[in-house]
């Protein structure tokens, strides 16, 4: 059996392996690093994370992204970045990072009366 389960923790991926792999046998494709793909859907909008894929280098990652993520006209621009260069928060820190904001409703600008002239707020 050649079943492979790959787990990635952003920011914690060792340079050599490009991922923490729990498989016993490695498949051929594990030689290609993982890339995160960002697509801009139209001019003026920002690039949004679309997903990830494997590629041997940046050029191939862009082309793979073109084929995987823009074939239904989803985009006009592609960014790629190797997943190992993305740094992320640790889920264990969620409590101290995010929960303190939960009871601070005054941080939302909902206590003002907006004049009718102001639209799109």
């Amino acid at each position: 059996m050649n079943i492979q389960i790959r787990k990635f923790y952003y920011g914690d991926i060792p340079e050599e392996t490009g991922g923490n792999s729990t498989s016993i046998k490695t498949t051929q494709e594990s030689g290609w690093p993982l890339w995160e793909i960002f697509i801009r859907s139209k001019q003026g909008l920002d690039h949004k994370h679309a997903g990830s894929l494997h590629a041997a280098d940046a050029q191939m990652a862009i082309e793979n992204a073109r084929d995987v993520y823009t074939r239904r006209q989803e985009g006009v621009s592609i960014w790629v970045v190797e997943s190992k260069y993305i740094h992320a928060t640790n889920p264990d820190d969620a409590e101290m990072f995010y929960e303190p904001a939960a009871d601070k409703v005054y941080r939302h600008p909902t206590f003002y009366d907006l004049p009718d002239e102001v639209k799109h707020m």
Binding site: Q28, W32, H54, A56, Q59, M60, E63, N64, V68
Partner: protein
């Protein structure tokens, strides 16, 4: 049939047969992302084939005063009626063979379609214009693979060289005119060789010289492989005439 109908059928058959060959990779690609890439190219080719078949059907229907459909042209003609270039019908070997064939094919297709674009027939010109955008990407994709494999490991270099030995004798047909062709293909050879050399230099590959070139596809003389492709491709319409989705 008029030269323009024959020319249109040649282009239709050529795109269809390579599309059919490439489609054999669907779900068998070396990696998911490349599986999608080759399948996209295949769909582009089948899309181009449809444009040409639709136009050929229109021309034939008009000249013979009966209704011929694009499906009839693709599914109900026999080997001798197919005018595709021989290189399209060669069986798949490995990934090196597939990307090198695509590279040779698309590089020539671009030059041919740039000529077709200038043709006075507005329909053929429009199909060429639309296809060129796709073809340019096919060249970019396949040439990068040729460089990657040629300039890669010993194994990849051996494989692409083996593919080169198989495919090269089928590239001469591009430039051998058929009596009905409305585009003069001979003069395109020099430009084609230059574009191949540019990538080969980067890939560390050498173009074979003084090789006997195969021909015949354009006039319906095919390798033994085409019959097998057609029997698979046409099976459903032959077994259940008129079947539709």
């Amino acid at each position: 049939m008029s030269p323009i109908i024959n020319q249109t059928l040649q282009l239709a058959d050529t795109c269809l047969i390579l599309g059919q060959r490439n489609s054999e990779w669907c779900a068998h690609g070396p990696i998911l992302e490349q599986d999608i890439a080759i399948t996209n190219i295949t769909l582009d080719l089948i899309g181009q084939a449809r444009h040409f078949y639709q136009y050929a059907a229109e021309l034939i229907s008009k000249s013979e005063n009966k209704t011929i459909t694009e499906d009839a042209l693709a599914y109900l003609r026999t080997e001798r009626a197919f005018k595709n270039w021989l290189i399209c019908e060669l069986p798949n070997e490995d990934w090196a063979h597939t990307v090198l064939r695509q590279f040779f094919f698309s590089s020539f297709q671009l030059l041919l379609f740039e000529e077709l674009e200038k043709n006075s027939d507005s329909q053929l010109s429009a199909i060429a214009t639309k296809s060129i955008k796709e073809i340019k990407y096919h060249i970019k994709w396949s040439s990068e693979w040729v460089i990657r494999l040629g300039d890669g490991t010993e194994e990849s270099n051996n494989r692409i060289n083996k593919a080169l030995q198989i495919l090269w004798p089928y590239t001469g047909e591009f430039f051998m005119p058929a009596d009905y062709e409305i585009i003069s293909v001979g003069p395109l050879q020099e430009k084609w060789l230059l574009s191949i050399k540019e990538i080969f230099d980067e890939a560390g590959l050498t173009m074979p010289e003084n090789i006997f070139m195969q021909s015949g596809g354009k006039s319906g003389i095919h390798t033994e492989h085409l019959g097998f492709i057609l029997s698979e491709l046409q099976y459903l319409q032959r077994a259940y005439p008129g079947a539709e989705w």
